[in-house]
């Protein structure tokens, strides 16, 4: 016990204790545990289980104060978990997921799950959700999406009407030119490992969640501008029946991909808390 309202346990599980994770549980369960889904946070690229700028730690602890348990885990090859030799990224994530289910079953009553992640974490959530009927929710931070019909026109207008871009351009013109130094050997972009799911896999994940009466929260940031530039675009691209009824889609171009600014992280945590509160409401009804 370390906080009057939550407990955290370090887990080293799977074959040979290869996988590392932290299980967060409410100190005092607010209702019968099987009723509420357990959140599972997947690594954002190579960043370890605390998430970008500790985002997952804040989420896990805030959610536990609402009554939700969660596991933030280092998948094989990330953070404190060694890689699984000989497996592709997708095979490795699937094998890890089986171990995650086993360790959750050993610690908690079996119940529904919400899979959450940023970037490649969202990709893993999308690919794993259809395979497990326990998954009733997805929190997707900068998931994949395809441009829709209006994407190019909106990108054109946005490019030429954003005054801040002109200011930045002028500043660059009058500043001494700088050359971008070459990258060191031993320097790794933490988010380059993306093995994005196809549009079909994305659609399948959403359809499965709808069939399970679940819900999806998607948030797109500045990073997604290369393929996404309007709230509602994902819904249009997917064309999944009843999308509006079970999906929340937000577009925050002012936030960076890894929520570098604290004010954006706090806002995101609040949005996810509110979204998760929907599960409490379901049970109240």
């Amino acid at each position: 016990m370390s906080d009057p309202v939550l407990t955290e346990e370090t887990l080293q599980f799977g074959e040979g204790g290869r996988l590392s994770g932290i299980l967060t549980r409410p100190g005092v369960p607010v209702r019968d545990p099987p009723e509420l889904p357990v959140f599972v946070f997947f690594n954002a690229g190579l960043l370890h289980r605390v998430g970008p700028h500790r985002l997952y730690v804040h989420l896990a602890r805030d959610l536990s104060r609402m009554g939700f348990s969660s596991l933030r885990v280092d998948l094989a090859g990330k953070g404190d978990s060694p890689p699984r030799p000989g497996l592709t990224n997708q095979q490795s994530a699937a094998a890890d997921y089986d171990e995650i289910l086993r360790v959750l079953e050993s610690r908690l009553a079996p119940g529904p799950l919400v899979l959450a992640g940023l970037c490649s974490g969202a990709d893993n959530a999308i690919r794993l959700a259809p395979k497990d009927s326990r998954v009733v929710g997805l929190v997707l931070l900068d998931p994949v999406c395809s441009p829709d019909d209006g994407f190019s026109a909106r990108a054109f207008v946005s490019k030429y009407t954003n005054t801040a871009r002109y200011v930045a351009w002028l500043k660059r013109r009058f500043e001494a030119p700088t050359t971008q130094p070459a990258r060191n050997e031993g320097e790794i972009d933490p988010l380059t490992l993306r093995d994005a799911p196809t549009l079909e896999q994305l659609r399948s994940a959403f359809e499965c969640i709808r069939e399970r009466d679940g819900r999806v929260l998607s948030v797109f940031t500045l990073y997604a501008l290369q393929y996404y530039n309007q709230a509602g675009q994902l819904g249009r691209v997917l064309g999944v029946d009843g999308y509006q009824q079970f999906c929340t889609e937000l577009f925050w171009p002012q936030a960076e991909h890894t929520y570098t600014l604290d004010l954006h992280r706090r806002r995101l945590v609040e949005v996810i808390r509110t979204w998760a509160g929907g599960y409490l409401g379901d049970h109240v009804r």
């Binding site: 906080d3 960043l47 970008p52 700028h53 801040a164 972009d189 933490p190 171009p253 960076e256």
Partner: protein, 311 residues
């Protein structure tokens, strides 16, 4: 038992009671004199079954645990010395904020390399950072200095080591020296790119914050204004800022010179205390920018290992 997290301590405790535990075909086995296995011990064996099996099978290369009191618990990873024994404990004092994220992978590799070479290693997350309890708004420098002291004590208890060495990275170097200056436990301090002092480090953080705001054309005026209260994307309490500002180079000079060794990535950066041996390892770390790349700087790690394993 000093902490609930140490499986090694549980094994030692069982041994003292004449209880032998071992792993066989992935299952936990034990042999106990009649009456020695109390219900409480049985419960602890059950609770720690997975860890015991992995530790006893020789798979586990590190052990993660929390230590410390109540809602102030500190997260740590303990890497036992390969092959048992090991008289030296190295405690890794990580850097702060984005430096912490960027070096996490490198410091894990370093810890494993030291353990393979026969040292016990403890990596910690200061309170309000990483997996440790607390929030940045609730902690200050004095808490982090205390965390290092507690980590040294915990590491010594777990490992049984009598010789303690500290590795301090960036601002972690200041904290490590501040902690070591108040104790006689530390035999050697190795510092990787130590920041000169708290005030200049705060300036670096403000510079990074400005760069973050400048590169984002979509921030509203309100957000831009609010963001300028942050330091490199983190909100620090007034107490934290004040204590950082007061953390001057005397933290370095309070430590005997002959215990210090500096490894830097730039020959331009002089260490504030003259006469301290300094190695330069060629690697560009871009500490003063808003860079987000994880770094695993082999030349630096090699130098650090050499400094830390030297007898």
């Amino acid at each position: 038992m000093p902490s609930s997290g140490s499986t090694e301590n549980l094994i030692a405790e069982l041994e003292q009671l004449g209880i032998t535990v071992w792993a066989q075909d992935g299952r936990l086995r034990y042999k106990a004199p009649q009456g020695s296995l109390t219900p409480e011990l049985k419960r602890r064996l059950t609770d720690n079954k997975d860890r015991l099996v992995t530790l006893l099978s020789g798979y586990l290369v590190h052990e993660a645990f929390f230590f410390g009191a109540g809602n102030q618990r500190i997260f740590a990873n303990y890497h036992p010395a390969a092959g048992g024994g090991g008289a030296v404990l190295t405690v890794i004092c990580p850097p702060l904020f984005s430096d912490y994220i960027r070096t996490h992978l490198a410091l894990r590799e370093l810890a494993m390399a030291l353990a393979e070479r026969g040292q016990h290693v403890l990596r910690l997350d200061y309170r309000g950072t990483g997996d440790s309890f607390g929030d940045l708004s609730e902690v200050a420098i004095s808490d982090w200095v205390e965390d290092i002291t507690l980590a040294v004590r915990e590491g010594r208890e777990i490992s049984g080591s009598s010789v303690v060495r500290l590795l301090g990275v960036r601002a972690g170097a200041l904290l490590a020296c501040k902690s070591a200056g108040a104790s006689s436990d530390v035999q050697r301090l190795v510092l990787w790119d130590p920041v000169p002092d708290g005030a200049s480090y705060l300036q670096v953080l403000r510079g990074i914050q400005e760069a973050l705001c400048e590169r984002n054309p979509y921030l509203s005026h309100g957000e831009r204004r609010d963001a300028m209260h942050e330091y490199a994307g983190y909100t620090l309490s007034e107490r934290m800022v004040e204590e950082l500002r007061l953390l001057d180079r005397s933290a370095y000079s309070s430590v005997p010179k002959n215990t210090l060794h500096v490894v830097s990535t730039s020959s331009k950066t002089g260490f504030p205390v003259p006469g301290v041996p300094q190695d330069v390892a060629p690697f560009r770390c871009d500490w003063d920018t808003a860079a987000a790349e994880l770094i695993v700087p082999r030349p630096v790690l090699e130098r650090l290992i050499a400094c830390l394993i030297q007898s």
